[in-house]
Amino acid sequence: MMDHDHYRLAVMADPHDSDDALRAHRESCAECREFTERLLRFESRLERALRVDVPQSANVLPFARRAAAAAPRRRQWMTLAASVVLALLVAGGVWLTLPQSSLAADVVAHMAGEPDAWRRTEVPVTDPALDVVLQDSKLRLKSGAGIVSYASSCDFRGHKVPHLVMQTPSGPVTVMVLVHEPVNKSMRFDEQGYHGTIVPVPGHGSIAVLMRDAESGSTDVERIAARVDDSIVWTR
């Protein structure tokens, strides 16, 4: 049986460690559970603190400049013109996509704070518990949508949003239904050991779907996102 100090040293080194012995100790010890919850709240702050803003000027890669210098002289004007257009497009693209990028970062930061949600399990949450979470956001899932092993109504950017974990053959997939976060187009992201996608749902904001890299393998998160979208019935 693991003692408290051993457990706390282990989670202080890696608060997201999903080792079975650590989980068993946490489930049997209220004090260590409280310690972990406190640590995870701090961890969420730590992740946000480390994610400093990156200057937009730093989005211009050095290669283009070198390549232009090496190009034949007669192509330089065209290269220069193309570079200007590209720079404008990149700058415009950065400007347009910035809020969406930070949305992905916020989604990842939120997920990272709930390690227990990632448990592989065949045990679904109870229907009443799922209904409460989904009713808040005026939606329900079609029957046959799959096993929902975790359902919580979470605070996210000032709104309550459904945070679900669905079990798939490739492992647990987290879904957040972001009614208040419309996006223009699908956006893939790969951050902090998670990868996923945020897809637009016309008239209902967006849906974020993500997996942990260790479990995702070659899983197509876009396909999963489309399946989740299909299984939602909006009730407003």
């Binding site: 457990y7 202080m12 730590l46 989005n59 890669l61 050095p62 951050e191 998670y194």
Partner: protein, 175 residues
């Protein structure tokens, strides 16, 4: 002709890969150096080195650790080349004051200041773990440390940060 087209496609793919990883590389370089301007220089030089050595990257899935290693080495080379003077930590914090103050929440700014003051040997594995998603084994390999040494450093890093931010450390374990 086909070779030329293939080469262009490969270069375009590599460029897109670098572009997507660049924000994280910049953040990593920033937390290594605790200096924005230096971090940008280091990443810029690293990108050029990566571009020249792109044939060495056999698996695109390994691009992130490959580029991070280049950034770490480039940062170390910067010290060898420029013989940068030792800077007082408080001066570093003051220099990056706009960034600390730009944090949307006061406690994030406070935590960033504490991170700036964290010893390098604790800060680097912590950044690799939290920001880059490295496992303990990957950190050990990158920093040439044993697994237990990495765990000890991560544990001490969090202990120091939590204490610096006034967190309740009453339940903290004894080492």
């Amino acid at each position: 002709m086909n070779d030329e087209v293939g080469g262009k496609q490969r270069r375009a793919r590599f460029q897109a890969l670098c572009q997507s990883l660049r924000p994280d590389l910049l953040r990593f370089a920033f937390w290594l150096s605790r200096d924005r301007a230096l971090a940008e220089d280091v990443v810029q030089e690293s990108m050029l080195r990566a571009w020249k050595a792109q044939d060495a990257l056999l698996d695109e899935n390994a691009a992130k650790p490959w580029l991070l290693t280049i950034v770490r080495r480039e940062y170390a080379r910067t010290f060898e080349r420029k013989r940068l003077p030792t800077v007082d930590v408080d001066e570093l914090v003051a220099k990056e004051e706009p960034m600390l103050a730009a944090a949307e929440e006061q406690n994030i700014g406070e935590l960033r200041a504490a991170l700036m003051k964290l010893p390098d040997e604790y800060r680097e594995p912590l950044v690799l773990q939290v920001l880059m998603g490295y496992s303990t084994a990957e950190i050990a390999r990158e920093l040439n440390l044993s697994g237990p040494a990495v765990l000890t450093r991560l544990c001490r890093a969090r202990r120091q940060l939590r204490a610096a931010c006034g967190e309740d450390t009453g339940l903290d374990p004894q080492e």
